[in-house]
Amino acid sequence: SSPVPSKLYGEIRSPGYPKPYPNNNISTWDIHIPKGYVLKLTFRYFDLEPSESCFYDYVKIKADKKNLGRYCGQLGSNTGNHPGRKEFVSKGNRMHLAFHSDFSNEDNGTVIPYKGFLAYYQAVDLDECDPNNADEKDERPQCQHFCHNYVGGYFCSCRAGYQLQSDHHTCKVECSSELFTEASGYLSSPEYPQPYPEDLQCNYSIRLQKGLSIILKFLEPFEIDDHQQVHCPYDQLKIQARGREIGEFCGKKSPGSIETNSNEVDILFFTDESGFSRGWKIHYTSEKIRCPQPVPLDQFTIITDMQPVYQFQDYFVVSCKTGYNLIQGNQKLLSFTAVCQADGTWHQSMPRCEIVKCGTPANLTNGAFSYVNKPGNDNYQSVIAYRCNEPYYHIVTGTGGERFTCSPEGTWVDQDGQTRTPACLPVCGKPDNPVTEIQR
């Protein structure tokens, strides 16, 4: 007897194959492959002395404590029992072969050189999850919830809210640390919409990336034990967002839809030892958290491409009307962008727009300037006019003249947009009191 190494495939040959097998030979083989597989055996070559009921020479196959047959003969011979291409499949992971040859292989005084046989076996995965494969006294327990086959074995799993027990088959409610990280999904009380089990301490945590806001939508039916007078004395469904309690629910009135404005939500479900309510189911979705609609602080502020809704990572750009500066604190800004943060707030507060001031205009040597509108008003669009100390100086300006306007850039510019201050040039040859002869 030769145990066959537990490979997942192999060959078995009659003694001396492919030479004729010896007389008076008994050989047995025990094929043993790992659990989770079944054995499949076929004869690639079969040539044994034929006889009625394979009385003389034969191969006997057994598996799962059953006889799978006794074979002998040659292909096409009338007597004997040739196996042909038949596949012998075990239910378990063992198979036993026995070969027997008698003292002669004569036929009418002629020795016939029967070659024997060449068998090929292979391990074939056993789909333990297929109910048909589970035979009646299968000691293996069934998976209570879900069975997952894989080559060479299988494993069980449980519905959400349940945990596989140490026997790897049964599921017990386990909802104390359910974690949901998908952008949307469903969660419900165990067995929903069947009545939920007693003594639950469920904690469903939804943890999404920052910047998302979770929206909870309760589906029908919604049914949690409650009391007419006392608020949720028996079973409670609590919803918390970032530790802040959003609500505690029970009874038959669905909470409908809840916008949590948070990327982290905990749903706690506590039940007492009794009750037949059908529980609850939530379809949660998420959307980028929203930020408050930006509101300009004054009438000179322009929010570019105002959107109806601003969500996480959205931004808005603020500018000012011409002639106004963006001011934040006391700082003048060249530009301003606010980004909606993960907590639904803007990363910086709205600036304001202050009118551009040009400051005191440049002094004019030997001259002066005067405010055309309001004295001392150096705001944007204010106008000043330069003049020289006439008649002793005369003004020399660019082509833009002597009137200057406070420009959006905060500089005083003439009509041509030039900033160059005029000049007062001396007036020659014009004495105040020129010599005039009277007497002639």
Partner: protein, 251 residues
Amino acid sequence: ILGGKRAALGSFPWQALTHIHGRGGGALLGDRWILTAAHTILPKGAVGSNGDLEQLAQEANVFLGHTSVEELHRMGNHPVRRIFIHPDYNPNDEYNFNGDIALMELKHPVTLGPTLLPICLPDSANTTFYRDGHMGYVSGFGVEKNFISNELKYVSLPSIARDTCRRWLLSKGTGKRMVFSENMFCAGFPRVIQDTCQGDSGSVFTVLDAQSGRWVATGIVSWGIGCGKGYGFYTKIINYLDWIKGIVRED
């Protein structure tokens, strides 16, 4: 100034009083240039004046803005940054005042007003002012009847035709040796005592340009033979306009 009158405040607001090698005059151009005669800075035959213009600029005193010498001194002088002497001027040639023109740049521009105003330069094309008999005014703080004046005086004099000047000059002993160049003109009377004199050098001979209504400097008091005894000789400014503008505009 001989035979002249006291100048009223504001009549000759361009008049400068200078003290360099003695008293002299000048005229304000723009708000920072003084036009004067080169010999007030580099006198003829002055021994030892090595003509170090930087040194002279440091020592020069220029007063502006009044007709009283006392007042001018009280108001304080205007320091001089740079001096430009015309290259044709030769301090060693006693009888040749050709190129007797200089510019002094003030360190600080002055603020103009009724008593301080620049004189205009003539238009290079307008030689009318040098025609025989064209009246002009000359002001100065120079000598009058052997006394240096404490007041600004002025006198009105006619420009004289060049031939007349030349003949007059030749009739004078010393005059024979004097150079009367194209860059000069003479003005005054042969027998009336109205003239400029020592101390007036550098002051300008001005005329009222009827067209523009402006007073224009046509000459600079330069030299003469005695005072009040005939014509005075003036540097012809119109011949130096490019030189003047080259310096003033360069700045």
